[in-house]
Amino acid sequence: MQSKVFPNAASALAGAVFDGMTVMSGGFGLCGIPENLITALRDSNVKNLTVIGNNVGADNHGMWAVLANGQIKKVLASYVGENKILEQLFMNGGVEIEFNPQGTLAERIRAGGAGIPAFYTRTGYGTVIADGKETRQFKGEWYVMETGLVADVSLVKAWKGDTEGNLIYRKTARNFNPMIATAGKITIAEVEELVEPGELPPDQIHTPGIFVKRIFKGSNYVKHIERLTTRPRDSAAADPGGKR
């Protein structure tokens, strides 16, 4: 069997990308995005991309670079704020955006990867999101039919991975990565630590290696924080967890 391991993002992406393809990319905001793969996608200069992900980067970061390089024609996302170039491109018709409710987007990707062509959800019933979609009543409640999504290439970021492609994510950097890993014809994973099989506890694997075709150890992670919020050491204030 050919090794899944590649030396870097450019070599992992080589031969997998083409003009007009659909790319899924993991992350929530800039948390858990495949930084090395996004840079390599920009450098590949492939055009007319349809990009599926929760966001499309943010000013100067993440998928924003691919957008700024004029490579994207259509975006499927749930939230695209803090992204001036996308705003301009959308307003002048340079980029098409299909808004998806976040949970619907997550489930469409999960369904696509699991071989489920469509499903029904209450989300969006009676809103513009349901326009043109089949609706159906179950047990007296109305639901909207949504379709599964797949991609030509899925780009994901994990914390640890082994040479078989088994992945473990870290904290909220998991987000959309596990579903996106299942929905790509070719899924490419970048990891902070790449280890030999047996070093990751089998019970702790989040994404089994079957979903991952190519893997490499990423480098120079920026992990930009969009909203740094802290509390002073001597204060119990600013406590989103409340009293305990």
């Binding site: 800039l30 929760n54 409710p101 997550a106 489930e107 989300t123 909220t172 998991r174 406590d239 409340g242």
Partner: protein, 215 residues
């Protein structure tokens, strides 16, 4: 004097019950986390994939792999768990979250909610709002009673595109608290903010409201 943002959040916190799993929206709803009543244990869910959200980190201890749905850095608690966005919205859509507290642009007297787009302005997207209001069994809206120009935000019908149809159970504004019946039997004023008169609420409200508790 109408309620301040903090007073509105404190009133919303009184909707929390011991053992609740709760999702808080951005803005005033976030302040509710600081006002959880003594003796009540509430677990906060963050829809990007975390249950058991802790406080903001101490200076110098922020972790870029640990953010809430508002992209703020946060911390974990001993009971915290992490999961994918699909599992997270399974929790939400499946009705496992007890209460969602969120902001709004408009609420209609039948419980319709609009809080995600204004035609003609740049659309940022709905994020998880449509899933939350469709899936969480009890939805409480915290919002200013009127627009800056004075127009009522509690309306006969929403003029803005909807986030959800018949999804709001309660509206807390700076002027008072309103209960809404999702099945369409209407809006009832149940509380008036300190220093506010019934006449002021009547004058500033477009929706048909049952004021019988106070008249």
């Amino acid at each position: 004097m109408a309620w301040t943002r903090d007073e509105m959040a404190a009133r919303a916190a009184r909707e929390l019950k011991d053992g609740f799993y709760v999702n808080l929206g951005i803005g005033i709803p976030t302040l509710v986390a600081n006002m959880i009543p003594e003796g009540i244990k509430v677990t906060l869910q963050s829809e990007n994939g975390m249950l058991g959200m802790g406080p903001f980190p101490y200076e110098g201890e922020a972790d870029s792999d640990l953010i809430n749905a508002g992209k703020q850095t946060i911390t974990e608690l001993p009971q915290t768990s992490y999961f994918s966005s699909a599992d997270s919205f399974g929790m939400i859509r499946g009705g496992h979250i007890n209460l969602s507290i969120l902001g709004a642009m408009q609420v209609a007297e039948n419980g319709d909610l609009a809080n995600w787009m204004v035609p003609g302005k740049m659309i940022k997207g709905m994020g998880g709002a449509m899933d939350l209001v469709a899936g969480v069994p009890r939805v409480v809206v915290v919002m200013d009673h009127t627009e800056k120009a004075g127009d009522s935000k509690l309306k006969h019908q929403c003029s803005l595109p909807l986030t959800g149809k018949g999804v709001v159970d309660m509206v807390i504004t700076d002027l008072g608290v309103f209960e809404i019946d999702r099945k369409g039997s209407g809006v009832v004023l149940i509380e008036i903010a300190s220093g506010v008169t019934l006449d002021e609420i009547k004058a500033k409200t477009e929706a048909t409201v049952n004021y019988s508790k106070f008249s």
